[in-house]
Amino acid sequence: MQSWRRRKSLWLALSASWLLLVLLGGFSLLRLALPPRPRPGASQGWPRWLDAELLQSFSQPGELPEDAVSPPQAPHGGSCNWESCFDTSKCRGDGLKVFVYPAVGTISETHRRILASIEGSRFYTFSPAGACLLLLLSLDAQTGECSSMPLQWNRGRNHLVLRLHPAPCPRTFQLGQAMVAEASPTVDSFRPGFDVALPFLPEAHPLRGGAPGQLRQHSPQPGVALLALEEERGGWRTADTGSSACPWDGRCEQDPGPGQTQRQETLPNATFCLISGHRPEAASRFLQALQVLAALQEMSPARVLALRQQTQFLWDAYFSSVEKVIHTTLEVIQDRIFGTSAHPSLLWNSPPGALLALSTFSTSPQDFPFYYLQQGSRPEGRFSALIWVGPPGQPPLKLIQAVAGSQHCAQILVLWSNERPLPSRWPETAVPLTVIDGHRKVSDRFYPYSTIRTDAILSLDARSSLSTSEVDFAFLVWQSFPERMVGFLTSSHFWDEAHGGWGYTAERTNEFSMVLTTAAFYHRYYHTLFTHSLPKALRTLADEAPTCVDVLMNFIVAAVTKLPPIKVPYGKQRQEAAPLAPGGPGPRPKPPAPAPDCINQIAAAFGHMPLLSSRLRLDPVLFKDPVSVQRKKYRSLEKP
């Protein structure tokens, strides 16, 4: 009994002390969970929760799958997006076909010329039924001629309303599902991915061609103003690097003084221009607030350099003429239709731009001659020789042997383009030889034949005469300049004051701007450009006046590259003995070609003169040097 009681009290004491212990311990444990107040000044990040492991996921596995219901609908009936308002089923086949509503009544000259330019383009179709896009021009704001609802309107489905100039007609009908391309659309009405935002075009904007960018040097001139501000009434104010004394806290004590800014009427020569949209009066406040100057000063020279060049590229590629603006709009819509085979963004954003890098040719940048360096790739080491045999139709046996002798030659294509029957026997060559029976048209020479397997083409005329080492050296040079034409014989253009037009000469001068395509290396992409991007009228011109074809090809390449072609050395004696070009210019027995007229017609169609002159020739490193012939790799180039 006693021991039981003793044991009882013992247990009591034990449990009491343990209770105490637990109480005290628990208290301190609690304190552990709630640490003392954070020390002042210490950074408090997001807490690491002790029970973070126990948190539940935001969605339970069973919750994720949902049954599809009808696709999300527009909140208000008027809004459109690409999927819901454009019917791509009409656009199967060869891309975007555009029908343009003919103008009603009297129209302005601009309107007529824009219509003509679309009609001449590769997008045009004459039947509204076959068209995938119906284009409604809404142009002549000041004449008061407002278009009424067109016939095939169909609530505006697959329609594009093009407003080139502001102050459009009052809406005579609901735009509905039609896309709108206009300048400065408002955020409320603009439907991203559906409407197209255009640049604001002045009335006098050139229809085609357009002035080239005014940048004459890559980097800014030292000493020119850093920033020009647009002011009211079209004036400009320039601010210098010294005028940015405001701290970055949202306000300046005072305006940059008049001593540091200058007022000018015309667009000044400054590195940056601040455009403030519709509110020029806000510009100076904006400047204070955002400290544009400070930001610009911080910008590295590398970035300024890149920005300057990009402005010029964008202007030249998409902005400089009404025609470019319209074609860009159509190209944007075509890219939406093409989906996976649209232009990659690189093609849009680096020279020569998406209008000149056709996505129908390829969507891989490395297939084009322009992006080898960006892609870290090189042009392949083989070429295809394309020999055009026009009248009188002698198989060019010697030429075939000389070309086939080049280690870089992959194949020879003979384009038989005369009335005589195809010879049945062709010389044995180390490379495959294919004969194509042509259509007797000169423009056939630049057709993108699927049989051409290499990037490089050596274009030849049956009467051309080249040696193997000339071919080898010229091809090596082409590999260094794959976007240009590399040729042996040259000609030049010049401004003829007497006739007030462009002239053409094949005489040997100190400079040249064209190479003859009867013996020239170039990228096969130019065949695609020639055939698919030139207006039909120009290709017809080439067929009617065969000597024009050289000029035309040189125009295309120069318009794309903005660079002159390259000349390589050519055996002298043959140059004088055998004329390379059929009926080519120079002191030849044949009558001189109607080149001057042709060059002017082509220049008019391009809207500007893209040809550029070069004063150099690329020779082998030891060319005609007084050193041992044994040292020279291309010694046969120098043989008299």
């Binding site: 029970d51 935001f58 799958p65 999927e83 890559h218 996976t340 100190n510 400079e511 490193v621 040292r631």
Partner: protein, 728 residues
């Protein structure tokens, strides 16, 4: 020790009945209690010392202890989302202030638990994912704990899944945040918007001007340039690590792995499978799995069981089809597996589409063309597919890049929250924004490719002329001859003499030759070779002619022609004598070659034209220690310049005219063979050194040089533009 005293007070009642033997128990007991107390006392200090040595600045507490906030039923509700909001109308940039690092600052509100008048909670306090997300922000450079410095505010109210919250009350909770101000500069994250039956594509919680980073935006709800579209988090991607798989053909051409598809869509897909056989695989939920197998990790086709997400790696294209919601978590799985997503969800705004070029990594097919999807995919060339696959692999690479700070979170989504901050950052500081290419180009493409800083094809006008920069030390007589010769070149517009001798003053003004263009003398602080390539403010033209003070043999025609050639190649080095680098197979290293070869890869800068931008690059952007090496060795500055230009442009030099060497009249006496050989060894060493610093051999070899069009042609000399082109 208050507790033990208390014990002792209770104690005396027991003690009289105690025997000595029992006393031992109590002493033992007491000691235990005492020990326990000491232990707990120590315990009070011990964990704190651990904490302060490790994470002294991070709170450790339980989520159950967060303060509770009662929301009265009539507390204010924000306006519905304002659809017309744009950065310039609804966002207050002034709060973002000037930040030298051009990073916006993000503040996170403290976590609270919101209850209504009846004490019923408004939502789950916080989900695992949202906690991790906030942790990621808190660990990033964007985070600030100073509410007054913040530009963006992130509420800790978890709205990732709309279904788990009470809409009205959540909105009320938002409205009482201390800096709410109609939601200005507040950023909300939501992944599962909408709810049955109509499933809105954006969060239904009224949020006024707050920015929304949402998964599953449609073109109707997405505010272009304001909201940010984010991917829907997939728990699987976080758990499973898939092995990397290179581009190339896969076993299946097209695969659909989603469960819970709408029956109509499933029919369409199954029709494709019937039509195209083995190359199409349509998977579904597994119905007959044994117990214990995680059903989310398995997919079935008839009776065949596949591991998910591993099976995604076996397909070239994977279907990402919309459900009731546009954003689907499967997109994350598919991206991780390197399968090209085929997105079939009309009007869906793809994640981060503001900066990511989805054209390069996915195929978007309209819903109405679903039955044609196979032929659409077949029309894509294999090379383009491989490019897309490569583009997908860049995603993990970038992920690591961005998640360096919080690599313990190996999930697909959280580092991207930092992308959100970066995207908004780009909008606020557009001039410091990351370019489209930087967002989209995989590092692999960058390697070997160049982006030429002078990419615009442009022939500068001849009228601009060039600036000749003569580096000199003390050869005054020779210098004056060079000045006289160079001044005869028609296109010279300015002459700059860099006086590199600190011990001697340049000659007096009156002694200098009188020339027709401005002549300026710059004195340098130190006799360094790199002074010749400094971007002096005095250089006003783009073209620079670097010329040594002993180069007197170049003719005026030769120099003028060199300038004309530079105009046609303004992004290249245009020089006279050419040099070559060769691989020495015996020594296994690069060798410098000055023999008369058929090839060139460098030009000497003893006389060379180049764009003045390269002076800036040489002085400020030369990689590694090359500049110091050149100054220390007093040699190879020209090789360094050749490396620099070739590396940045990817182009070869242009050698003009037959000139093979600069004959230096004064040095004929010491022009011995041994000197020549040490020179060659030193130059070879430079090439090897520079190639290792650049990590590659940037020099390009060509076999051509530039001559005047009529050079050595049979043509009357007096009619040639450059008759006196000089000798070797």
């Amino acid at each position: 020790m208050c507790a033990s005293v208390k014990y002792n007070i209770r104690g005396p009642a027991l003690i009289p009945r105690m025997k000595t033997k029992h006393r031992i128990y109590y002493i033992t007991l007491f000691s235990i209690v005492l020990l326990g107390l000491i232990a707990t006392g120590m315990f009070q200090f011990w964990p704190h010392s651990i904490e302060s040595s490790n994470d002294w600045n991070v709170e450790k507490r339980s989520i159950r202890d967060v303060p509770v906030v009662r929301l009265p039923a009539d507390s204010p509700i924000p306006e519905r989302g304002d659809l017309s909001c744009r950065m310039h109308t609804c966002f207050d940039v002034y709060r973002c202030g000037f930040n030298p690092k051009n990073k916006i600052k993000v503040y996170i509100y403290a976590l609270k638990k919101y209850v209504d008048d009846f004490g019923v909670s408004v939502s789950n306090t916080i989900s695992r994912e949202y906690n991790e997300l906030l942790m990621a922000i808190s660990d990033s450079d964007y985070y600030t704990d100073d509410i007054n410095r913040a530009c963006l505010f992130v509420p800790s109210i978890d709205v990732l899944n709309q279904n788990t919250l009470r809409i009205k009350e959540t909105a009320q909770a938002m409205a009482q945040l201390s800096r709410w101000d109609r939601g200005t500069n507040h950023l909300l994250f939501n992944m599962l918007p909408g709810g049955p039956p109509d499933y809105n594509t954006a969060l239904d919680v009224p949020r006024d001007r707050a920015l929304l980073a949402g998964g599953g935006f449609s073109t109707w709800t997405y505010r272009q340039g304001y909201d940010v579209s984010i991917p829907v988090y997939s728990p699987l991607s976080a758990e499973v690590d898939l092995p990397e798989k290179g581009p190339g053909p896969r076993q299946y051409f097209l695969l659909s792995s989603q469960v819970g598809l709408h029956p109509e869509y499933r029919e369409d897909l199954e029709a494709l499978q019937v039509k195209h056989g083995e190359s199409v695989l349509v998977l579904d939920k597994c119905t007959n799995l044994s117990e214990g197998v995680l059903s989310v990790r398995k997919r079935c086709h008839k009776h065949q069981v596949f591991d998910y997400p591993q099976v995604l790696q076996e397909a070239t294209f994977c279907v990402v089809l919309r459900g009731a919601r546009l954003g689907q978590a499967v997109l994350s799985d598919v991206l991780q597996a390197g399968c090209v997503p085929v997105v079939i969800a009309d009007s869906y705004i793809l994640p981060f589409s503001e900066v990511l070029d989805w054209k390069r990594a996915s195929v978007v097919v309209p819903e109405e063309k679903m039955s044609d999807v196979y032929s659409i995919l077949q029309s894509i060339p294999q090379r383009q597919i491989e490019e897309m696959q490569r583009q997908l692999f860049m995603e993990p690479a970038r992920r690591e890049n961005w998640s360096a700070a919080n690599h313990q979170m190996n999930s697909l989504i959280w580092p991207r929250e930092q992308w959100d901050s970066q995207i908004i950052n780009d909008r606020i500081y557009p001039y410091a924004a990351i370019s489209y290419e930087e967002w989209n180009d995989p590092p692999a493409v960058k390697w070997g490719s160049v982006s030429n800083p002078l990419f615009l094809p442009l022939i500068p006008p001849q009228s601009q002329g060039f600036t000749a920069i003569v580096l000199t030390y003390d050869r005054v007589e020779s210098l004056f001859r060079v000045i006289t010769e160079v001044s005869k070149v028609p296109s010279l517009s300015k002459l700059l003499v860099v006086w590199n001798n600190q011990n001697k003053n340049p000659p007096e003004d009156s002694l200098w030759p009188k020339i027709r263009v401005p002549l300026k003398v710059v004195r340098t602080a130190e006799n360094k070779l790199s002074n010749r390539f400094f971007p002096y403010d005095e250089i006003e033209t783009e073209a620079v002619l670097a010329i040594d003070d002993d180069i007197i043999m170049l003719t005026s025609d030769e120099l003028q022609f060199g300038y004309e050639v530079w105009r046609e190649f303004p992004d290249r080095l245009v020089g006279y004598p050419g040099r070559l680098h060769l691989w020495d197979h015996e020594m296994n290293k690069w060798k410098y070659e000055s023999e008369w070869t058929n090839e060139v890869s460098m030009v000497l800068t003893g006389a060379a034209f180049y764009h003045k931008y390269f002076n800036y690059l040489y002085t400020y952007k030369m990689p590694g220690d090359i500049k110091n090496w050149v100054d220390a060795h007093m040699n190879c500055e020209d090789i360094a310049m050749n490396f620099l230009v070739a590396n940045v442009t990817g182009k070869a030099v242009i050698k003009v005219t037959p000139r093979k060497k600069f004959k230096c009249p004064e040095c004929t006496a010491i022009d011995g063979l041994s000197l020549d050989q040490t020179h060659m060894v030193e130059r070879s060493e430079c090439i090897n050194k520079f190639a290792s610093v650049f990590g590659t051999m940037p020099l390009k070899v060509v076999e051509h040089r530039a001559d005047p069009v009529l050079y050595k042609d049979d043509f009357p000399e007096k009619l040639k533009s450059f008759p006196n082109i000089g000798s070797l």
